[in-house]
């Protein structure tokens, strides 16, 4: 089968179909149903053709299908470029190429397309599970490719799998060197298609009752944090995200205008840490209250929101420092304060009324805030994930009727109440708490840790954080979401902390996932530079990296080649023969080589004629050798000793 034009055997066709089906399978759920049906039909048709040794369809028919499918894909996606349409097109072309597969050359082309299809899967998922599955796919494809290159009847597929496995395993060292040292460039070479990132969840720039409690149902990781020193207390872990200034009666939204510059005063030392943020397709970047450092390619506004210049579509890692003890915003502009007092007219009349009455009762802002928090704490307010639905006057209904809600209800109601009482207030959303992974000593913050709280302003203190949820449910802030909500509420399994074994498993898994993220998926130019610095290469230039990579690769190839080529010669196993060959070698060095066709006895006779002085030694050795090797005698030690004693140097030179 080494002739590239030779027709294909059925088993090759079937293995090829299987391996391509394995690679394409994860795409099936993402492709339009008709594409899946079309490609499955084409594959079945090819298998049928193979079984019945029938003729392949004509090129004109296939051309018709190509045109039809391309139009279909265009109608489906409104483009034939981009990630989704591109993958659909590739899968269809692969199916059609199957029906054009006549010879070895076509089969190899399909295998190469199969490799390419593997990489398209990574556009959708790069988890450990995907990686493992794709590794199996690559293994099977490679085994199929090896199978194509046998010339006689092939061994069982198991055998090909073994060879493919060894081949791939031996490629790992070189792959690692290339992976670690290949000069990485940051950012795309050209614009990414619009659909490259879709369907990732996270905090949005508006907050309506229910928007956060939906997030709570997801145990997806929002970000992971590695602290340089000890992890702060849970109640200090307020991860600041979008800050909402505007309330329209139903929902809070982020201000389009950014006021002032971030200024603060502090007396304590900052905590420093590294955040690895999962992609969430928005621009928010999260940091502990109060972020004191800027993030590259992002800006910090006066209300300490960190916004990236581009939506966070890839996992990003940034160093951050925060002051847990701070004061800021004492000199807030009047325009901003006016904005922080605005309430939409005609909404929540009872709350507005209640706020005014509170203002009348308490002249001091602090006393007023304390009073409201005491109300939340002492009256029958409930903290639940499944609050009743609210109507038009959501705050009124919540404060005076339902009284059960989630953090966004409390934050919203509190902020409205404060504004009604004439205290500037705003809602801050983000995450609160997190889970410490003892195994890796880092903090995992999940979507389930999403939270909303408020900030109120007073002339002396500036903006001060008030978390009304903490008043209702202190456990939420101190022990996390799973301790705070009733057990009947539908929390995701991973967020519940019921079983110790499960917890340990979960931590181990997350540690693996985190290492995977940090070292495989998050292997950025920056991490590459850091790695090189740690082995003593500072300021690694593109040039230096390439030279290092190529030299290391060369070393690996040489070592591998030496390893693989080492057992090609016939090895003599018999110790007697080894000893005898040594004897012959000694004589050869003295110019009396043994002819390849010469038996030991003939050789001995010739030697004796040549050098009568050696006759006894040669005769004895030869006699013993013949006896040991061809006779019944066993035991080679005596023989070896005798040969060791042969010293050609002491022999008299030939007369």
């Amino acid at each position: 089968m080494t002739d590239p034009k030779q027709p294909l055997a059925l088993r090759h066709v079937l293995w090829l179909l299987l391996s391509l089906a394995m690679v394409a399978a994860p795409h099936a759920s993402r492709l339009p149903w008709w594409v899946v049906a079309l490609v499955a039909t084409l594959a079945a048709w090819r298998a049928y053709v193979g079984y019945g040794r029938l003729a392949l369809p004509s090129r004109w028919l296939l051309l018709g299908v190509v045109i039809g499918a391309t139009i279909g894909i265009y109608l489906n996606y409104r483009t034939i470029f981009g990630r989704d349409a591109g993958v659909a097109l590739l899968v269809v072309m692969l199916g059609l190429k199957l029906l054009e597969m006549r010879s070895l050359r076509d089969a190899v082309l399909l295998i190469l397309l199969g490799y390419f299809l593997v990489i398209t899967n990574f556009l959708y998922s790069q988890t450990i599970a995907t990686a493992l599955y794709m590794l199996v796919c690559v293994w099977v494809i490679t085994a199929t490719m090896i199978g194509l290159h046998y010339t006689r009847e092939e061994p069982a597929f198991r055998h090909q799998l073994r060879i493919a496995g060894v081949l791939l395993a031996q490629s790992v060292p070189l792959m690692l060197v290339l992976f670690l040292l290949f000069p990485r460039v940051s950012g795309p070479l050209w614009g990414l298609p619009q659909d490259a990132y879709a369907g990732v969840s996270g905090l949005s720039d508006t907050m309506t009752p229910g928007s956060i409690s939906n997030l709570i149902l997801s145990d997806a990781v929002a970000f992971r944090v590695k602290f340089d020193s000890t992890i702060p207390q849970p109640k200090q872990l307020y991860w600041r995200g979008p800050v909402m200034w505007d309330f329209d009666g139903g929902s809070w939204s982020v201000s389009r205008f950014l006021y002032g510059t971030p200024e603060f005063t502090t007396s304590a030392a900052p905590v420093t840490y590294e955040v690895t943020l999962e992609p969430h397709s928005k621009r928010w970047m999260f940091a502990l209250d109060l972020p004191a450092r800027t993030v590259p390619r992002a800006s910090t506004s006066g209300d300490f929101q960190i916004r990236a210049f581009e939506p966070v579509n890839n996992r990003v890692r940034y160093d951050m420092a925060s002051y847990l003890d701070y004061s800021y915003g004492a000199g807030e502009s009047r325009m901003a304060l006016r904005r922080a007092l605005q309430l939409p007219p005609g909404f929540n009349p009872r709350t507005v009324e209640f706020g005014r009455s509170l203002r009348a009762k308490f002249a001091d802002d602090r006393a007023l805030v304390r009073e409201v928090l005491a109300m939340f704490r002492n009256q029958n307010f409930f903290y639940t994930l499944t609050p009743p639905l609210l109507g038009q006057h959501s705050v009124d209904e919540f404060l005076f009727q339902t009284r059960s809600g989630f953090c966004e209800h409390y934050a919203s109601a509190f902020a409205v109440l404060m504004r009604a009482a004439g205290i500037p207030a705003r809602v801050v959303t983000g995450y609160q708490g997190g889970e410490i992974n003892q195994l890796g000593n880092y903090l995992i913050v999940r979507q389930a840790d999403a939270h909303a709280w408020t900030e109120v302003w007073s002339s002396g203190a500036g903006w001060v954080r008030v978390d009304p949820t903490a008043a209702v449910s202190p456990l939420r802030v101190e022990s996390g979401i799973s301790a705070a909500v009733p057990r009947s509420d539908p929390l995701p399994l991973l967020v519940r902390g019921d079983f110790e074994v499960l917890r340990q498993l979960r931590f181990t898994w997350d540690l693996m996932a985190n290492s995977w993220n940090q070292w495989v998926l998050g292997y950025t130019p920056e991490r590459q530079r850091r790695l090189l610095t740690s082995v003593g290469i500072d300021d690694a230039t593109w040039h230096l990296l390439t030279v290092t990579m190529l030299s290391l690769a060369a070393v690996i190839v040489v070592v591998l080649a030496a390893f693989m080529l080492r057992r090609l010669k016939a090895r003599v196993r018999d110790p007697v023969k080894i000893a005898y060959l040594k004897f012959c070698g000694k004589l050869q060095r003295k110019g009396m080589p043994r002819d390849p066709a010469e038996g030991p006895v003939d050789y001995a006779l010739r030697l004796q004629r040549l050098r009568p002085d050696l006759a006894p030694t040669v005769a004895a050795i030869t006699q013993l050798y013949v006896a040991l090797r061809y006779g019944a005698e066993t035991g080679s030690s005596k023989f070896k000793v005798r040969i060791r004693k042969v010293e050609p140097g002491t022999w008299n030179p030939e007369p």
């Binding site: 080494t2 590239p4 031996q170």
Partner: protein, 323 residues
């Protein structure tokens, strides 16, 4: 000038030094390797994947691309290894008639611990014979070469090649084994009867068969006495032959070059003589062959037949053309 230089360069590069006797060991310097068309396509696909990985910042894309790239490099070592250190020796080639295919036996010895697969041997890069050589095994294979004209046929430069395991690389080695095959003249179409035999012992132009003196062997025919079968020859697996004995009443059949008409060309005459040799042998006759400058004495048997045919194969007409 250029052609000569190129030739010298090729001879140096591929270590071409004429037919070699004995065992050829494929040391590193004798195995050559180049990427195939598939190999270049593979490289192009990898380049595409690398571009995609950079553009989409696909870490696993990098992993896959580099893994496959490393595998490609690795496959090169595999392909090279498939030939390296193989020991090759030329075997014998049975004589054939011109126009038939001569089969040159080649022995390949894999002394190592690695199985070698999918090797091909070819002399013209069109027809190849494929074989595997498992670990610690010697196999024999035959390269078929069409014998166009009578005489001595040499296999010339054979190419041993492999693309195993992935077809990305083509490794080859040139073998110029010192092998020769005798090519007999193509026998003429039957028709011209055998020349008349001359009696040596009297009048009777009888078939020279008797019971006394052993004269040779001929092909076994149904009905031959089992006592006359050459069992020793049969034991050597050379087929059943019947011993022939000559009696007193002997005849002499001379297949003589000069019996043939002068207007026949040299090759035509040789063809006709070859036909006669076959016919006479098939009839179990005792015959001799006379060629200008060469004579094969009267005898019978398989060995005699081959001696005669070889004499025809190697016949070189005298310089003056006619005797």
């Amino acid at each position: 000038m250029y052609a000569a230089l190129k030739n010298r360069f090729y001879n140096w590069l591929f270590q071409l030094r004429g037919p070699e006797t004995g065992v050829i060991v494929l040391v590193q310097r004798r195995v050559f390797i180049l990427p195939t068309r598939q190999g270049f396509t593979f490289a192009a696909v990898l380049l595409l994947m690398l571009t995609g990985s950079i553009n989409y910042s696909l870490s696993l894309g990098f992993v896959l691309t580099f893994l496959l790239g490393a595998m490609g490099v690795n496959a090169m070592i595999y392909t090279f290894r498939n030939l390296a250190n193989l020991r090759i020796a030329g075997g014998r080639a049975r004589p054939v008639f011109a126009g038939d295919t001569a089969h040159f036996i080649v022995h390949l010895d894999n002394g190592g611990a690695t199985d070698r697969y999918a090797m091909g041997l070819t002399h013209d890069h069109r027809d190849s014979v494929f074989f595997d050589v498992p670990a610690r095994t010697t196999i024999s294979t035959a390269v078929g070469i069409l014998a166009r004209r009578r005489g001595i046929l040499r296999p010339g430069r054979l190419t041993l090649f492999t693309r195993y395991p992935l077809g990305l690389f083509y490794a080859w080695s040139y073998l110029e084994l010192d092998m020769r095959c005798v090519v007999y003249p193509r026998p003429a179409t039957p028709g011209l009867p055998l020349p008349p035999a001359t009696s040596t012992a009297g009048a009777g132009a009888e078939r020279g068969q008797g019971q006394e003196d052993f004269s040779g062997l001929r092909q076994y025919h149904v009905g031959d006495s089992p006592r006359h079968i050459a069992w020793k020859v049969a034991a050597r697996d050379q087929g059943l032959l019947t011993k022939q004995f000559t009696g007193r009443a002997d005849t002499e059949l001379w297949l003589d070059w000069s019996l043939l008409p002068r207007q026949m060309g040299v090759e035509e005459r040789l063809s006709q003589l070859a036909r006669w040799v076959l016919d006479a042998h098939a009839a179990g006759l005792s015959f001799g062959l006379r060629l200008p400058g060469t004579t094969v004495e009267m005898a019978t048997g398989q060995g005699h037949r081959e001696r005669c045919l070889e004499a025809l194969a190697l016949f070189e007409p005298p310089a003056n053309g006619e005797q």
